[in-house]
């Protein structure tokens, strides 16, 4: 395409579900990062829906190797570019399974070595490509196909792993969380990450209509509710210190939970007040830890 302004770096025609937040994330990421970007994708939904041979949605150089090695592949690319004196930015992209679980060895190694790249996790809180299995990013009580709610289970028994803190502890100069529901915030943070020398990490909360159980047109609304209830916090950490937090007038977690089939067991066949209270307590702890509450004047 000759007209740069008209060039969509992540193109239409891919096979994502209607309302897929990961697809929206890909487009916003490249809008922010620009055409001089090499993308390394891990195996997962985004890789599969965007590159069925002989087609590709990517109008930037793009490579997929394996599920768990995008950080290591990115390390090699960064080294190669440095040797060639090339200036392209390198972004490694992975879902939460690739990032939190199977790829954490490569991720940790690449961050410890200090390669100049940005790792972006699109966090839809389970293994969606293989059919909604729990990951280390799945929230407490979410029902997935490997943490199903049942007569003696209320879904996923563990809270979400705090990966941003783990990567900040590696000495990453810039770590941020953002959400597909806040596109300007997302783009601003991606721009900052790719500008910042050294390994940077961005975690994008990306609601999955298929995996979480809601209609595709609600992806943005659900994403907003995650932030507004305090169950997902938008913040930036620079050199290990939280420097910016999105404040909200908090809503009860119930408003978020009740919209999604993965939490349906907390309301049907009968309401489970004890479990809902535990999830509210997670939001309350987040609010206290990050100071997200806007106090309304009476």
């Amino acid at each position: 395409m000759n007209d740069e302004a008209a060039c969509v770096l992540f193109d239409s025609g891919h096979r994502a579900c209607g309302g897929c937040a990961a697809a929206m994330a890909a487009r916003l990421i490249l809008d922010a990062a620009g055409k001089d970007t090499i993308v390394v994708s891990s195996t997962g939904c985004m890789e599969v829906f965007s590159t069925p041979y002989p087609e590709t949605a990517w109008n930037v150089p793009w490579i997929h190797s394996l599920f768990e090695n995008n950080s290591a592949v990115a390390s090699g690319i960064v080294a190669s570019l440095a040797k060639q004196g090339r200036k392209e930015k390198v972004i490694a992209l992975g879902g939460d399974g690739a990032t939190f679980d199977i790829g954490i060895l490569c991720l940790s190694g690449a961050f410890e070595r200090g390669h100049d790249f940005t790792y972006i996790c699109y966090d839809n809180e389970a293994y969606m490509n293989t059919g909604i299995q729990r990951s280390g990013a799945t929230p407490y009580d979410a029902s997935t196909t490997t943490s199903p709610a049942g007569s003696c289970s209320s879904g996923n028994p563990r809270p979400k792993k705090d990966l941003p803190a783990i990567l900040a502890a590696h000495g990453a100069p810039y770590v941020a969380t953002t959400s597909i529901a806040y596109p300007p915030d997302l783009k601003k943070k991606v721009e900052k990450a790719v500008r910042t020398p050294g390994p940077c990490y961005i975690q994008i909360h990306a609601p999955c209509c298929t995996g979480w159980g809601f209609e595709g047109e609600k992806s943005i609304a659900i994403g907003k509710l995650a932030i507004e209830t305090g169950l997902f916090v938008l913040y930036e950490m620079e050199n290990g210190v939280v420097t910016k937090v999105k404040k909200v007038v908090r809503k009860p977690v119930e408003e978020y939970l009740i919209e999604q089939k993965r939490f349906r067991h907390l309301f049907k066949p009968r309401r489970n007040d004890a479990e809902i209270a535990k999830i509210q307590a997670i939001a309350d702890r987040n609010a206290e830890k990050f100071g997200i509450d806007i106090k309304l004047k009476k």
Binding site: K35, T51, I63, S65, G76
Partner: protein, 385 residues
């Protein structure tokens, strides 16, 4: 000029002369001396390479994959468990047609843990799409690296390559090596010219997923490249021999095979012992010869058929075992000789570093000539009890 060098250091020197731009490697015995030597060369600006100290072999090869796709000549080295950890990435490099060159310092696979030599590690990757070359001595181990880069990066091939040489037996042994100069290597090995690369000026996608409508054709294309390597390796070997006098123009090498009744087939350092044993047997009138396999992938079917045409017995020495079947080399040799009446006897030998002496080779020949084989040689019965 001949220099007395440790195998690992000779290989590291040779690799340095190949001008790799990105090196990623992880320490593991008995490979470590190579990457230590390269790190030292990088630290003293004797090589102009980015040296990535990865956190695992899995990441070593993954980083090489990325750097190769971005347009750099890359190098790694590993062995045994490290190669096993790379399994997934090995298939990926070949599938993506990235000409990574990697030294495999052959070592047994656990359990039980063994740091000593056999060839189970590289043999177990025989189906991964990598070229596999095996060296008999340290001279050949160094020279095969120049050859491997030239062949792997040839646009008719574009496949990754293992240069295999036996752990400790070669890697830690001092031998005289005729080391080429930088100018000589530059004359043989042109700079890396990637067929395609990750480049913002010309964006392409690498590593797409293929539906059943496309997958088989990709596999076929790799296999076709392997077939072309049957002529491209000897072609490069011939150029090498014309330039430097050492002949690598064959995928196989014969030793006193012309009039032999019994042929031994082997790969790697054991060939040296076999040659000495053959000389002894020849001195007492036994017509024994050696067919040494330099390439295992691609497997030199025609060369094996031609070389073994006139013999009456074949004894294959396998430093590996495909458990539940036979040694991998014997299976290939038997396949190559299918339809002939030549009996092929398999001997599983020297697993986990068990020493092989000239008298063992003579014993193997005696077994084969008596029509016995398809067995482990040198089992300690008292341990089995």
């Amino acid at each position: 000029m001949l220099e007395i060098m440790e195998g690992s250091h000779a290989v590291a020197e040779a690799v340095g002369y190949c001008r790799p731009q990105v090196i990623a490697a992880y320490p593991i015995t008995p490979q470590t001396h190579i990457v230590e030597a390269l790190a030292d060369m990088a630290a003293n600006c004797r090589i102009d390479a980015e040296y990535i100290t990865v956190e695992s072999e899995f990441s070593a090869l993954s980083a090489c994959l990325g750097a190769s796709a971005a347009g750099s000549r890359v190098y790694s080295a590993t062995t045994s468990q490290g190669l096993a950890l790379m399994f997934e990435v090995c298939f990926n490099c070949a599938g993506m047609r990235l000409p990574v060159v990697m030294s495999i310092v052959n070592r047994a696979l656990g359990a039980p843990l063994s740091i000593w030599n056999d060839q189970q590690d590289s043999i177990s990757l025989r189906d991964s799409g990598w070229l596999q070359l095996y060296a008999e001595d340290n001279q050949e181990a160094t020279d095969l690296h120049y050859l491997a880069y030239r062949v792997a990066e040839d646009h008719r091939i574009l496949l990754p390559a293992f240069v295999c040489f036996d752990g400790f037996i070669l890697s830690h042994t001092y031998e005289p090596v005729d080391m080429l100069t930088q100018e000589q290597v530059d004359g043989f090995l042109p700079p890396f010219r990637p067929y395609q690369k990750l480049d913002a000026a010309d964006p392409i996608s690498f590593g797409l997923f293929a539906s059943p409508d496309y997958y088989m054709e990709f596999r076929y294309a790799i296999d076709q490249a392997m077939n072309r390597a049957r002529t491209v390796i000897p072609e490069a070997g011939k150029v090498f021999s014309e330039m430097f006098g050492r002949d690598y123009s064959g995928l196989v090498e014969e030793y006193r095979l012309d009039d032999a009744d019994c042929a031994i087939v082997a790969m790697g350092s054991i060939c040296g012992t076999v040659k000495d044993a053959i000389d002894d047997m020849r001195n007492v009138g036994k017509k024994v010869g050696l067919l040494k396999l330099r390439a295992f992938r691609p497997f030199p079917v025609n060369e094996v058929q031609k070389a073994l045409k006139g013999v009456s017995t074949v004894a294959v020495l396998d430093k590996n075992i495909s458990l539940g079947s036979k040694g991998a080399v014997a299976l290939e040799v038997r396949d190559a000789l299918y339809g002939t009446q030549i009996p092929v006897y398999d001997f599983i030998i020297a697993l986990g570093g068990r020493d092989v002496r000239k008298k063992d080779i003579a014993a193997v020949v005696a077994h084969a000539e008596a029509g016995k084989g398809d067995t482990y040689y040198g089992l300690r019965e008292e341990v089995l009890k």
